[in-house]
Structures are given as C-alpha cells and as structure tokens.
C-alpha cells in the first residue's frame, strides 16, 4: 500500500506533495499548504519501504527527472520543484 496522506481543505483540485520527512524545504512547503487550507495529499518518500519507495520515486521522477524534493504536482500537469512558495501561490490561485 502506498501511503499517501490526505489533508482535507478547500478546493477539490488534485494537489500532490512528494516530500522527505527530514527536509527543511519540504516542511516549509507543507506548512504553507496547511496554512492556505487547501486540500492536498502528501507522502514522505524516505519513510516508505524499499519496494514502495522505488515505485513512488520513479513515478515522481517522471515529473521531476532530477528527483529532488519537495516536488509538487498539480492536476498531474503542473510541476513545482523546490519550496517556491510564490509559484505555488500563483498556481493555486490560478486554478481557483
């Protein structure tokens, strides 16, 4: 089972956050999403079992080939790499 955690909130767009549990930028990004009260799903890739990790990580690398964190995927189309809060804001607002 792949362990995505759903955070309930505003909107029903498909927002996915690939994060590392130890990473400061990921934490900042997650805090921003929490504060904006949007609905999203997140996963801590470093906490997965090896099989799951490989599966989830290769899926993530389809969107961000460099494989860096955090990676945010909006509606399976837009990809934001890194804690680029302004860009996340812009894309979330745009889709409102």
């Amino acid at each position: 089972m792949t362990q995505w955690t759903h955070v309930a909130g505003k909107g029903n767009r498909n927002l996915k956050l690939y994060a590392l549990s130890t990473c400061g930028h990921c934490k900042k990004t997650k805090e921003f999403l929490d504060e904006s009260k949007v609905s999203y799903d997140y996963i801590y890739v470093d906490l997965l079992s090896q099989d799951e990790l490989e599966k989830v990580y290769s899926e993530m690398k389809k969107y961000n080939p460099r494989g860096s964190f955090p990676t945010i995927l909006i509606e399976e189309i837009d990809v934001i790499v890194g804690a680029r809060i302004d860009e996340i804001k812009r894309l979330i607002d745009l889709n409102d």
Partner: protein, 171 residues
C-alpha cells in the same frame, strides 16, 4: 525526546559544535535557528536510520558507497555557497547571506548534473604529471579540496573535518 527519537540535548550539542567548527573554518550557519534545528535533527535521524549522516534534503538510496557525496558536508557545498549563497539545504550560507545583505533562495540540486568527480582529476593529456613517480600518492578531500601526500588518506580532514571516505586518490 522528539518524535523522531533524537534527544533535544543531542541536537543542541551538535548545533553548538557545528557553529564553532563553522566559524573556525570560514563557514557560516544559517541565522534561521529553527531551520538549522530541523536540518541538524534530520542529519542525526539519517545517521540512526542509514548509519551515516546523509543530507537531510536529499533521498538516500542504497549503500553508503553510493552516497558518499551526500554525507554532510556534501561535495557540493563549496560550489553552491559561492554560486547561490547557500548549500542545497541552506544549512550553510555565504557571508553576505549571513549578514542579511542577500537572502538564500531555493536552489537546484547539482548532484545529478553531469559532473562526475573524474572532472576534478588531472586530465590524461598531462601525461608528464601522471607519470611522475611519486613517493607517496596524493589524496584530495572532496569537500574542501585539501591535498595531502601520504600512504593513506587521513581519518578526518584536518581542514574541514570531513570523514576519510571523502578522500579520493588525486595523483
């Protein structure tokens, strides 16, 4: 204890050591104390989880040998600080960022850029140098560039304190 099982005291102690070392060796820790705390706690969690202190902002996959480059301080710290004003995690920042003349922005990860450490070695066309019959091999610290001529690399880099695995045979 934090939820990660790393004691607050252990984190405090490590931050203190890192701060002192950084000052002594010409580096600066980020002035954002909360961020530093999180990153240091991440490094200690990784040590517990993987057996080595890998970068908290990068995914550690596989054996230690495959991750020597991202043992903190990573091989990319120098270049990132001079180019962007901070290391990838922003644990270490440049003097300007520390003095708040510049801010540390998120930066790209250069780990998987094509820059194998072969690039840093003496190129083949310098045959004269390559064929030198050295009494001792020369080792290079991948973190700070320190060179030394001796039978084996030191246990710890005397300049930046990197572990012996960070040394590559240079000549």
């Amino acid at each position: 204890m934090t939820e990660s099982g790393i004691g607050e005291k252990e984190i405090d102690l490590r931050i203190k050591i890192l701060k002192e070392d950084a000052k002594k060796r010409g580096y600066n820790l980020n002035t954002d104390e909360l961020l530093v705390r999180e990153l240091v706690s991440g490094i200690l969690i990784n040590k517990k989880r993987y057996g080595f202190e890998s970068c908290p902002c990068r995914l550690t996959i596989g054996k230690k040998e495959d991750n020597i480059d991202i043992i903190c301080p990573c091989d990319y710290r120098e270049q990132d600080i001079s180019e962007y004003g901070c290391c990838y995690c922003a644990l270490y920042v440049s003097e300007d960022v520390e003095a708040k003349k510049k801010t540390a922005e998120p930066i790209p990860d250069r780990r998987f850029e094509r820059q194998d450490s072969e690039n840093h070695k003496v190129p083949d066309n310098c045959a004269g140098i390559k064929n030198l019959r050295l009494k001792y091999p020369i080792f290079r610290c991948r973190v700070c560039g320190y060179l030394c001529a001796r039978e084996n690399p030191p246990q710890i880099c005397p300049i930046c304190k990197a572990v012996s695995e960070k040394f590559e045979k240079y000549l």
